[in-house]
Each structure stands twice: as C-alpha cells, then as structure tokens.
C-alpha cells in the first residue's frame, strides 16, 4: 500500500497511532501495559493527578478509551475488563443524584473506590521499588568465594570397562540389514479370519501348537501381527486356551475337548 493510491477508509490499527499527526499530547513511544493497575496508574500520572485524591471515576473514560484503541495482552484481558467495569460503576455512582446508599453487606464484592485506590498505592510503591532495583541491579554485586576444586563433587574413580562399548557395537552390527523392498508394491490382504483358519488347520492336525512356531513361518511382519491377533481372537471367544509357563516362553495353544465348547 502506498500513499499515492486512493484509499478506502480503513480501521486504524495499533501501529497507525505512531503516525505523526501532531498535537501536544501526542506520544511517539506508547508504553505497553501489562496490567490494568499499570495502565490506570499511567493515566493518573500522565495527567499529573494525585493518586490519593483524584476521584477514580474521572479516569474511567480515558481508561475505556485506551482499551478500545489499543489491544491489550489477551492473557490479562479479563483483568483489564474487570477494572473497566469497576471504573464505569464508580463513574455511574457519581453521575447519579446523591442518595444515601444502603450499607453493603459484609463480604460483598461491590466495587469499592478505596479498595481500588489502596491497590493502586500498593502497586505504585512496589513498582517504584522495582524500578529502583532495576537501577542498581548488578551494579554493586557481592560475591561469595568460588568453590575450590575440593568442594566440587567427585568424579567416579572407577572408569567403566571399554569392553561395554565394544559389545554394544558388536550387537549393533549383528542386526541384519533390512531386506530390500520388493520391486513393486504388492497389495496383499491378510485378514484375521484367514489366520484363524490357518490356526484351526494346524490345531486339527496335532491338537496342540506352539504359537511362536506358527509365527516363525509367517512371511511378513503384518502376517505375524494378524496371526497373533487371530490367536487373541480365538482366546477371547474361548475357543482355545492359551498357556505360557515363563516370561517370553513358548505360548501353547490347544484345542478344547469336544464337550466343553
């Protein structure tokens, strides 16, 4: 977009505020406000008002105006909005004819000007302290003694045997290269049903099989996986019992005696 082109009126974004449009109150560098108290305090201080005495309702418009023109950090949006609501409430109270209000029930969360003022004062005191701390941060550091060598934790005295590395390398080398891929992709479907048939067939011959032996004969990983799933399916249907005596031991599958099916 260049200035020579005729432009549609556009929504003025946050960056556009920085255009030099003149005016005494114009500020080039707009501070970014992280929180509502920071913004409120800035509005009061930039008008050279006294936090102690200024009716906070007087800054309500400026506060809301700022929020509508400058997007704020969404993480703290609710805080900004809550404070806006509080200020608008305080302003509305001032605009209405004075009328004695009924006393608030204790523990009410009715916006209270004094409470907000107290928070502003507390925030200002700590903000100023933080600014001062920023000034002398690291200016006059004090240092403790550097730890001596003897203070440092000891390294294990026993070196690890080098043979561990050699063994690790050997076992890596022992893993066979993966088989070269087939020249073309062959779509092959193996279903659990098929493998159930294979298992039944094997069982019908001996009445007792070792699952690992069946899996060894499988051609591919998929076939193995499906065969295993087929076994699980048979066990789930309670058509065969499967037993295993030890961890990683042979899994024995048997045909059930006729009567118990």
């Amino acid at each position: 977009m260049t200035q020579a082109e005729p432009m549609e009126p556009v929504e003025v974004g946050e960056d556009a505020v920085a255009l030099p449009v003149g005016g005494a109150e114009f500020k080039l560098a707009l501070p970014v406000f992280e929180g509502p108290l920071q913004l409120l305090l800035h509005l009061i201080e930039s008008r050279e008002l006294d936090v102690l005495t200024v009716p906070l309702a007087e800054v309500a418009d400026a506060y809301v105006d700022h929020l509508t023109r400058h997007p704020v950090d969404t993480a703290n949006l609710s805080e900004f909005v809550a404070t806006a609501a509080q200020l608008i409430y305080l302003k509305s109270k001032r605009m209405l004819p004075a009328e004695p209000l009924p006393p608030l029930p204790t523990g009410s969360d009715e916006p209270d000007e004094e409470e907000l003022r107290r928070r502003l004062l507390e925030y200002r005191a700590l903000r100023d302290a933080a600014r001062a701390m920023g000034e002398w941060d690291g200016m006059t550091p004090v240092m403790r003694r550097e730890p001596r060598e003897s203070d440092l934790p000891e390294v294990p005295a026993e070196p690890l045997p080098a043979s561990i590395l050699a063994e690790a390398l050997a076992s890596l080398a022992a893993i066979p290269e993966p088989a070269p891929p087939p020249p073309e992709i062959v779509a092959r479907e193996i279903t659990i049903g098929q493998q159930i048939a294979v298992l039944r067939e094997a069982l019908s011959r001996g009445g007792r099989i070792v699952l690992q032996a069946i899996l060894e004969r499988c051609g591919s990983r998929t076939e193995r996986a499906v065969t295993f799933l087929a076994t699980l399916e048979l066990v789930r249907r309670r058509q065969v019992p499967a037993a295993k005596d030890e961890l990683f031991g042979p899994i024995v599958i048997e045909t059930l005696p006729e009567g118990s099916r």
């Binding site: 108290l37 925030y123 005191a125 941060d137 006059t140």
Partner: protein, 182 residues
C-alpha cells in the same frame, strides 16, 4: 573470650563451602545460640565499620562471607560476570517477593493485577527466589522468598538493607484521612 569466638566464626565462614546456619555455628563453637547470634552480629558490624573488603551476609538464618558491595563493579570486571538484565515484569514480581516475603504467587498477582506464573518461574529458574514453605490456607499454596543469589546480585548484606518502600505507611495513613474527610 568473646573475640575468640568472633575470630573463629570469621575463619570458619572463610573456609565454609556453603552458607552456615546460626545453629551449626553455635554448635561448632560450643556456645549457646543466643551468644552465637551476638558474635555474628558483632562480626558483621566490625567488617562493615572497618570498611573491609569482605562482609558478612545474612539470609534468614544462614550466614556467608561475601565481598563488599563497594568493590562489586570492579570485581565483576575481574570475574567476567555479566548477568542478563531482568525485564520490568520480572523486577516487579521480584520486588513484591522481596518486600512481602514469604508470599505466594497469588500475592504477587494480586499486587500486580496480572498473571505472574511465567515471571515467577523465570525468577525461580534464575534462583533469585526459592520455595520457603507452604501457607496454611486451602490448597496450601507455595510460599516464596528471596535467596542468597538475590542478595549477592543486588549487593545487599541482608534484607534489612532493602530501601524502605516509598511512603507506604504515610500514604496509607493519608488515605484513611482522605476517606474520613470525604
């Protein structure tokens, strides 16, 4: 007799590889705790008043010898220590913890009026603040306090060296007056 214990403490803290607690020092010197406190205070004062190159630093109940803040800048050049600057948000949170400790993350957020989870975590990470316990309220929130690292970085001998908050008391009193007058 008394000077003897003070000298012993000075030497002990010189070789100590970590801050020592009052109780530990009392036990090592075989003196009552109250006397140890007194000796340590006297040592701190002597180092300060004689304008020595080292000072006695206190955090909570622990003590360590550190260099004097006056020579800090020149030492930093020697030790090539350049700390990354703290952001205004971190400084604000750190100020709240420093002046209101022990305090919770909620306390920091209430004063600042903004979510302070990230800055608290970054201060913890820089070890300028540390967990010092839990508050006995629902949820048992973690309480934070400043560390030796904080004192070292800001050149403080103890938390008593923190400058008073501007006016706190005077302004809050004035606030009450204004409220009464209105």
């Amino acid at each position: 007799m008394s000077a003897e214990v003070e000298v012993y403490f000075e030497a002990l803290l010189f070789i100590a590889e970590r801050p020592l607690s009052t109780a530990e020092l009392a036990e090592l010197a075989e003196v009552p705790r109250a006397q140890a406190e007194g000796e340590l205070a006297a040592l701190a004062e002597r180092l300060q008043e004689d304008g020595r190159g080292i000072r006695l630093q206190r955090n909570e109940d622990a003590w360590q010898l550190v260099t004097a803040p006056e020579v800090g800048a020149r030492l930093a050049a020697y030790a090539a220590r350049e700390e990354a600057r703290l952001t205004p948000a971190s400084l604000e949170a750190l100020a709240v913890v420093a002046y209101r400790q022990p305090c919770t993350r909620g306390d920091v957020e209430r004063v600042r009026g903004v979510d302070s989870d990230y800055v608290i975590r970054s201060l913890l990470h820089r070890r300028l603040i540390a967990e010092v316990g839990r508050r006995d309220t629902p949820g048992r929130p973690v309480l934070f306090g400043t560390t030796f690292m904080f004192l070292e970085r800001f050149g403080l001998t103890s938390l008593d060296d923190l400058p008073p908050l501007t006016s706190d008391a005077a302004q809050l009193a004035a606030l009450v007056d204004v409220a009464d007058g209105a």
